[in-house]
């Protein structure tokens, strides 16, 4: 089962590799990982998407909590969070396919951010499933290059991570 986990960490060098080596050292897989500073000074926030059964997820959460630089671990699996991801997609667009690409971009409320006579570059944001869906439609048209950020997630409701 896929889980999205927020990890609030001290913004110090080496923290990312500690988290990553925790996963590699124990044979856990990371589907995606994003990390950047937060509004709180000295604190960064990672969003990790991983998978495993209940026991593996319990170990992942406990092991993350055990790292000295980890301030808090939040598991969003039960629908407690909202997720977004961004993708930049370079797609072939010539003759009649140019209009088709534009239609798809419009339907998914994505944006064209670069145009050439032979291609469009698209910026799409949404939850990871939406990104998967737009890519599925663009792929047959000639997907030349793709970059995804991986999910970022935040808790639902007005409360912050401190409760």
């Amino acid at each position: 089962m896929q889980h999205t986990i927020s990890v609030l960490v001290e913004n110090e060098f080496g923290v990312l590799s500690r988290v990553a080596s925790l996963f590699s050292g124990r044979g856990f897989n990371i589907d995606s990982l994003t990390v950047a500073p937060t509004n709180e000074e000295g604190m960064s926030r990672m969003t990790l998407v991983t998978r495993g059964d209940e026991n593996i997820l319990e170990q992942i959460t406990k092991q993350l909590n055990k790292l000295i630089d980890v301030i808090k671990v939040i598991d969003f699996t039960e629908g407690g969070g909202v997720e977004r991801e961004m993708a930049l997609v370079k797609v072939a667009a010539e003759d009649q396919s140019r209009a088709e690409v534009l239609r798809i971009v419009d339907i998914f409320r994505a944006k064209i951010i670069d145009v050439t006579p032979k291609s469009y570059t698209i910026e799409a944001t949404g939850n990871p499933a939406k990104i998967d869906a737009i890519l599925e439609l663009l792929r047959p048209l000639g997907l030349k290059e793709l970059v995804r950020t991986g999910a970022v997630a935040i808790g639902r409701g007005s409360k912050g991570w401190k409760g």
């Binding site: 050292g25 170990q59 406990k62 055990k66 980890v70």
Partner: protein, 566 residues
């Protein structure tokens, strides 16, 4: 007062109560050594290898309960500490390792003797710090010691670039430390403890299963009180030996792969296992699917990751074992009216255990012509002081020591349990002897492991550390040979060490004393002679070559499927 980084580092050690460090100089720590030259508050011991220095710091920590400190230079000096760090990490030993690093401006430039020691040791340290600014040094040292000794203890590495050692600043040592991301849960939950005691008093076949956490948490007294109040049988892991007196009638001895038959049978037939500071290692559980099939499990540990990692747990209690056990004792006292009924219910359980003990005691067949290694260990026990500290290497002699020495006090057995490090015994004993110059310190080794750090005899002689080195020499890497014998048709691939080493001459070459025998009748005489010598001594016993450690649970088998004779 303004000081340079090297001096600040030493002042921090002094403030943390460090009296002895084990270190090896080199280019990137030469400034620390220059300060040490006139720093009278700390004793420095120079091992012959950084790995041994780190094991010595580990032995010092295990024997005293204090934080052990090792110093190494950058590059090869630092990498040589890795085995010692991993050994301490696996057994949760509080240690601070200080490594020199090339100047900050050269980090990442492949400078001479540069290595990313933080990266190399990341999986085997509790935490690590690279000090980039001398103004942060004192706070980092305070944090390093706090992290090393609190919660589940462990090794912490501080990497100190040369320019930071030279840079000057005002020395201010922080009184306290507050790390917002590190708040170990030390206080056991009262309701959980009440529930646990309630469950325990409903059991008919309880076993207390005790690990190294009780030794590390200084909770042997609380454990013994609880076990005696409940008259519950106690079995310990290798790391837990000494936390409960083995001469007590309720002691089952060690459990697991080479544990006592009665201990493994008791675990298999128990209806209530109370695990205290133990982590259900695979050497203890055997085949997980058939482990303790009828038992409810209560698991007490300061480290939540240890709970439910390997086995199902019915009631977890996260907290410092000393705190939890003393609260349990109070709770047991409150339920005094239930004690008589509980004790009566346990009578058939005690009888059953006594039956197992009588049927298959851990024993060996004595020989008139060949020295049996178990016999040497029994004699060592008889002839040693009551408060002797014993370290071991890893292998057959380690298991025979666990089976036959009988440990009645905590911190008297120093052994690499989790990592199984050959070469650990001699330097660990060196560390313990440095901490306790007046106590008897014995290291029991095989001929394989002792040769991994044999050079440390020089350190013992130089520092007047009278460690007694017992070598059970069978000219084999015995434990691997045992497996080859039992499971690989006696195909002794590279386990035979036929080259006859003259250990007596070797001891003499280093300026120590050496004795050797192959005759059972001389064992006692040599031990007495060795113990009487004022300095370090090698006592070599040429033992039965193909003796096996029995009983044994083959890897992957259930605990009750023990090989008793082979």
């Amino acid at each position: 007062m303004k000081m340079n980084g090297a001096r600040i580092m030493l002042e921090c050690l002094k403030r943390e109560g460090v009296d002895t460090v084990f270190g090896y100089p080199g280019g990137t720590v030469i400034n620390i050594y220059d300060e040490l030259f006139s720093f009278k508050d700390i004793r420095h011991i120079l091992p012959r290898h950084e790995q041994a220095g780190t094991h010595a710091a580990d032995g010092y920590a295990r024997a005293t309960g204090k934080v052990g400190v090792a110093i190494a230079t950058s590059g090869p000096g630092a990498t040589n500490t890795v085995t010692g760090i991993a050994t301490a990490y696996m057994d949760s030993i509080p240690m601070v390792i200080i490594t020199g690093q090339v100047p900050t401006a050269l980090i990442g430039n492949d400078a001479f003797q540069e290595v990313d020691i933080i990266g190399i040791t990341r999986p085997c340290t509790k935490h690590s710090f690279l000090v980039k600014d001398v103004n942060e040094l004192a706070t980092i040292m305070k944090k390093a010691f706090y992290i090393a000794r609190s919660g589940r203890p462990g090794p912490v590495l501080v990497d100190l670039p040369k320019d930071v050692q030279i840079a000057q600043t005002e020395f201010v040592y922080p009184e306290t430390v507050d790390i917002r991301s590190y708040k170990p849960n030390l206080v056991g939950h009262s309701r959980q403890i009440e529930k646990a005691v309630g469950m325990m008093l409903e059991a008919s076949r309880p076993v207390l299963y005790v690990g190294g956490g009780v030794v590390l948490g200084n909770a042997a007294e609380e454990l013994t009180t609880l076990a005696r109040k409940l008259t519950a049988p106690v079995t310990t892991t290798l790391m837990g030996l000494g936390s409960y007196p083995e001469n007590d009638p309720n002691s089952l001895g060690m459990l697991g792969m080479h544990g006592a038959y009665c201990a493994n049978m008791a675990m298999t037939h128990s209806d209530m296992i109370v695990a205290v500071g133990a982590r259900f290692d695979d050497r203890v559980t055997g085949k997980i699917a058939t482990f303790a099939p009828h038992a409810k499990i209560i698991h007490i540990d300061v480290d939540p990751t240890s709970i439910k990692k390997n086995v199902r747990v019915d009631l977890p209690i996260v907290g410092d074992v000393k705190d939890v056990l003393s609260k349990m004792n109070k709770q047991v006292d409150k339920l005094k009216d239930k004690h008589a009924e509980f004790a009566a219910r346990l009578t058939p359980w005690h009888e059953e255990i006594a039956g197992w003990k009588a049927k298959h005691p851990t024993s060996y067949k004595q020989s008139a012509t060949t020295i049996k290694p178990q016999f040497v260990i029994q004699k060592l026990r008889e002839l040693s002081n009551e408060d002797a500290i014993v370290s071991t290497d890893v292998g057959q002699h380690q298991m025979w020591t666990a089976q036959f020495f009988q440990f009645n006090r905590p911190r008297t057995l120093l052994s690499s349990g989790g990592l199984g490090t050959m070469g650990y015994g001699l330097p660990a004993a060196m560390g313990a002897q440095a901490a306790f110059p007046d106590r008897q310190v014995i290291t029991i080794c095989g001929d394989g492991g002792v040769q991994m750090n044999i050079q440390e005899i020089a350190t013992l002689v130089q520092n007047r550390l009278p460690v007694k080195i017992v070598i059970l020499n069978n000219n084999f890497l015995g434990m691997v040979r045992q497996w080859q014998e039992l499971f690989f048709d006696k195909r002794y691939s590279s386990t035979c060490m036929e080259l006859p080493v003259d250990f007596v001459k070797l001891a003499e070459a280093y300026g120590a004393k050496g004795f050797s025998t192959s005759k059972p009748g001389e064992v006692e005489k040599i031990i007495k002679q060795g113990f009487k010598e004022p300095g370090p001594v090698i006592m070599e016993f040429k033992v039965a070559r193909e003796e096996k450690v029995l009983p044994m649970v083959p890897a992957g088998a259930s605990l009750n499927e023990m090989v008793l004779n082979a």
